[in-house]
């Protein structure tokens, strides 16, 4: 029991302070660099080599700024909102398996049997921070941002939830570790035919899976308030939306929350569609085949394997985050009615039909 507590604590501290928080601050830096490169600029390159210490400078700047509370705000909720904005994204990561095993300890903080439901439940709490910020600011632009955010999140949660149902139809369990296990055995969901090239059923399955992935990815974009769906904070129309009245560390918390949500969303996407921590390596040991590397091997090879799995997972997450940024700096923002129409009349239906297609394939799939 004590052993369980200590390893859990180590995992929480490790994943939060060693991985997630640095990743958040460096994804801000990466966002600025990527946007600069896309626009033929240099981006921040002054602090440290290639600007790598920029997040630290940013942190000091934000900490040292005057923490200003406007007069007519509802003070208690005004202070509560930034805290609520960060929390959901960070506690969602608890159920995501970020590695196989290390020293025999499974690399997931809480392996619960309602994994994906937990993710959706906590993600749906993310709206409170934004809505409260908009309401407590007692100012019209933040308020509009808050109201937009609440309706947007409710609308896209539907397609988000429906888009992943095909996966769980196949896996037969809501546990995220079993999703990864299934993908190791049957191929990643984004391309289930890999490794089983001759099986026409797998090729057939790939069509609804890609559809499901597209709907899921777009819904994640909308859930994390990223462009092209960043209407709650549209700088040009709403002057920053819900965080207009915030300054200093409270503003930083909103920023942190947004990027943490992006990282969490990417992690879930990787887990559901890109095989999680799984990356087969070619092996010539006894004829060519794809070898599974994980932490189950004895001795130092197990440790290396476990570390390799963790590195693989976060490398995949980094790639997905890059795609997030790439899309942000390419596409313009949707109009609000377009956003709602897209969510309700398009993705909702696609996701629904997709479930039936996958159910049909499973019913006739020769196992």
């Amino acid at each position: 029991m004590t052993y369980f507590f200590i390893t859990s604590l180590l995992k929480i501290v490790g994943i939060l302070f060693v991985v997630i928080l640095p990743m958040v601050s460096y994804s801000v830096y990466a966002e600025r660099r990527v946007s600069a490169f896309i626009q033929d600029r240099q981006g921040p390159n002054r602090v440290g080599p290639a600007g790598l210490f920029q997040p630290i400078a940013d942190m000091f700047k934000l900490l040292l700024k005057e923490d200003f509370t406007p007069r007519n705000v509802n003070t208690f909720y005004y202070w509560l909102a930034p805290c609520l904005a960060v929390m959901p994204a960070i506690i969602t990561i608890a159920v995501v398996p970020f590695g196989s095993t290390l020293f025999g300890v499974p690399m997931v903080i809480a392996d619960i049997n309602v994994g994906i439901l937990y993710v959706f439940a906590i993600a749906s709490l993310g709206v409170y921070g934004i809505v409260l910020a908009g309401w407590a600011s007692n100012s019209k632009y933040p308020f509009l941002g808050g109201v937009r955010s609440s309706s947007q999140m409710i609308s896209y949660e539907l397609s988000l939830g429906l888009a992943v149902i095909p996966i769980f139809l196949l896996v037969g369990s809501l546990r995220l570790t079993s999703v990864v296990r299934y993908q190791i055995e049957h191929g990643w969901f984004i391309a289930p035919f890999i490794g089983d090239w001759m099986n026409p059923w797998k090729w057939l399955l790939a069509i609804p899976m890609v559809l499901s992935f597209v709907v899921f990815a777009i819904a994640i974009f909308a859930e994390t308030n990223r462009l092209p769906f960043d209407l709650p904070e549209a700088e040009q129309e709403l002057a920053g939306g819900y965080n207009t009245e915030y300054s200093s560390m409270k503003f930083a918390l909103f920023f942190l929350g947004e990027y943490a949500a992006m990282i969490t969303g990417s992690a879930i996407m990787v887990t559901l569609f890109f095989g999680g921590w799984h990356l087969p390596l070619p092996s010539w040991h006894g004829g060519f085949h794809w070898a599974l590397v994980d932490g189950s091997a004895p001795g130092w090879r197990g440790v290396i394997g476990g570390l390799f799995n963790i590195a693989t997972f976060f490398a995949k997450v980094a790639v997905v985050i890059f795609v997030f940024m790439w899309v942000r700096w390419t596409l313009p923002r949707f109009r609000y009615d377009q956003l709602m129409r897209l969510g309700w009349l398009f993705f909702f239906e696609i996701a629904l039909v997709n479930i039936f297609i996958v159910a049909g394939i499973i019913a006739f799939l020769p196992s």
């Binding site: 909720y77 619960i112 049997n113 309602v114 439901l117 937990y118 959706f120 439940a121 906590i122 749906s124 709490l125 709206v127 409170y128 809505v131 409260l132 309401w135 308020f143 808050g146 109201v147 609440s150 309706s151 999140m153 409710i154 949660e157 369990s173 809501l174």
Partner: protein, 167 residues
């Protein structure tokens, strides 16, 4: 679950549940209700009902309360002004609630089975999503579909009710 955690979450739920009734500001009430529901979800989990607990968070905290907040903000309901408290009605209301509470407690006190502690389960981890789902789609298939129709009717009703122009 240890008694300590049980009492923490029960207290959290009850204190914030009382805050729902006491608060003058509707937004404060709604947020207290969210916290209360989170405590309730934790109690569900302590009863090994993970699925119900998560559904509780997902439906109540995630959707219903957001709807409440949305409506409160849409109608711009501010804190109620101080009205003269109608003492007779208030004391009467509290008295009725207290009597009900005492009745409930008396019934529980006379209920023999209430003194049993947690009976052991088959395994340390049970897949309750699968079990609830299997039951839902086999024994309770018809009620499930009726509920679906009910939700559809509710949706249509809400759309009709909230249209600005009823014609």
């Amino acid at each position: 679950m240890s008694p300590f955690l049980f009492w923490i979450f029960a207290l959290l739920m009850l204190v914030f549940g009382a805050a729902v009734v006491i608060n003058r500001n509707p937004v404060a009430s709604a947020l207290s209700l969210v916290v209360s529901f989170l405590g309730l979800a934790a109690l569900f989990m302590s009863l090994d009902a993970y699925f119900i607990g998560i559904i509780q968070v997902l439906v109540y905290a995630g959707a219903v309360m957001v709807l409440f907040l949305f409506i409160i903000m849409l109608l711009d309901l501010r804190a109620e002004e101080e009205r003269r408290i109608n003492w007779v009605a208030s004391v009467g209301g509290i008295a009725v609630a207290l009597i009900l509470l005492i009745q409930i407690l008396l019934v529980i006190g006379h209920f023999k089975a209430a003194r049993q502690t947690f009976p052991p389960l088959a395994g340390s981890t049970i897949d309750d999503v699968r079990n609830v789902g299997a039951l839902l789609f086999s024994n309770y298939n018809l009620p499930f579909q009726i509920i679906g129709v009910l939700v559809l009717v509710a949706t249509i009703g809400v759309v009709l009710l909230s249209r600005r122009d009823p014609r």
